[in-house]
Amino acid sequence: MKRVPWLVPTLYILFLLLPIYWLINMSFKTTNEILGSFTLWPRNFTLDNYVKIFTDPTWYNGYINSITYVLINMVLSIVVALPAAYAFSRYRFLGDKHLFFWLLTNRMAPAAVFALPFLQLYSAVGLFDTPIAVALAHTLFNIPLAVWILEGFMSGVPKELDETAYVDGYSFWGFFFKIFVPTIAAGIGVAAFFCFMFSWVELLLAKTLTSVAAKPIAATMTRTASTSGYELGLLAAAGTLTIVPGAIVIYFVRNYIAKGFALGRV
């Protein structure tokens, strides 16, 4: 291990890529080849699975629905988390510590506990089967996380910045939007990344709160698997496509990702 330090990370990355390779491999095979023979790469290379996904509305609408609620959730979470995180990082107020912990407890609530009550709540307010319902439900765990991350980044900005701006004659909101927000742009990017991530990967609530009109792609996959038997090639192609948005988003935040995972506190 001492002589070849790159060996451990390389082996680990290989381990990470193997199941992904197997999925991609299968997505280019016909169902017959998958079930009939064991091949390490596709012998009858086919794009049919992808063509079907991009031409069949029940499939591609799943992607559109997922991306819609993820984006709504991301914007909503960041917009309300920004002032809250500022308050937590700069001021002391009645019940601040308890409030912060209460927010965090929502990150700890198992989705399985909330599935049924959420269904009743969102049906009662008439939002069932809309992207807004899923976006709102996901704020339960994304807002606390966004507040936590942003607070970490904001606490890293010295308070002198605020004071100098006031001396220079900025109003509070002028300072906040013209100076403070650009200063912590990296933190906002990281928080947005995390909101994207947790909203994109969550399925239990997304599936419970939708039926037809706003069905997320991940739910489309599970239903196809159970109704029309095993169309493994198609399933693999759909799975492969769910990895793409994540990969694109990671690429954009690659330089901040490590700091982001430490919630801006290192």
Partner: protein, 287 residues
Amino acid sequence: MNKTVNQKAWFFVLPVVLLVAFNAIIPLMTVVNFSVQETFGDNMFFWAGVRWFEQVLQSERFHAALGRQILFTAIVLLIEIPLGLAIALTMPRKGPWVSVCLVLMALPLLIPWNVVGAMWNIFALPDIGLLGRLINGLGIEYNYTRQIFSAWFTMVLMDVWHWTSLVVLLCYAGLVSIPDAYYQAAKVDGARPWAVFRYIQLPKLKYVLTIAILLRFMDSFMIYTEAVVLTGGGPGNATTFLSIDLQKIALGQFDLGPAGAMSIIYFLIILFFSWLFYTLMMKDEAR
């Protein structure tokens, strides 16, 4: 940072409080309502007191699911934390490979959880999956849909695959924040690699390791989607963890009373441990 007292700061946190309260308090009260009432359908509810709580706490089914849950969480924590730390220590700190490593390692974290389950379901199948073929090819009988040990092995391996990167990224962030001067000082003193790790790296990693343990504890204790897609709780009940059992009771059997009581007990367990970690963490941050 020294903070000024300002009660108007409440206006800044109000939107967050309102949104989260709408999502947290109303559903939580619904669960509390279920847990103390009896229903015979038609939306007729009768007071049931703490009967459901007694029933859940005494049921062997709950004990078994809780036991499996604790065992699973303990196993994945014991593997993922040291492994993640080891990988972070051997990762390059500078150069073009850093970004490549980070992007590839973060990949599993952004795959929808049911796709993770489906991917491993296929990957580990004994007839058409690479892993299943490989293990059977070595002469070891392996079939995760039939054998309890194989099912657990696959489940743990999947979780390690899915989440070790989180620990790696956290530890890595902690490591790159250590100034070079520390290492140089250690070199001058002739410190051995173990001493460098024990007295320079580990203290700096304390905070990120706490977050890693906290997040991994919470998420592995709440595991649902991946496990359902991979094994569906089987074979038998061998991999029926708390969330899966809860869903079976709530949505499968529609026993709302016991499901509500179980939800609250479940939530309190997580809350207790998280409070414990949080208190330790904040004490550490106050330094």
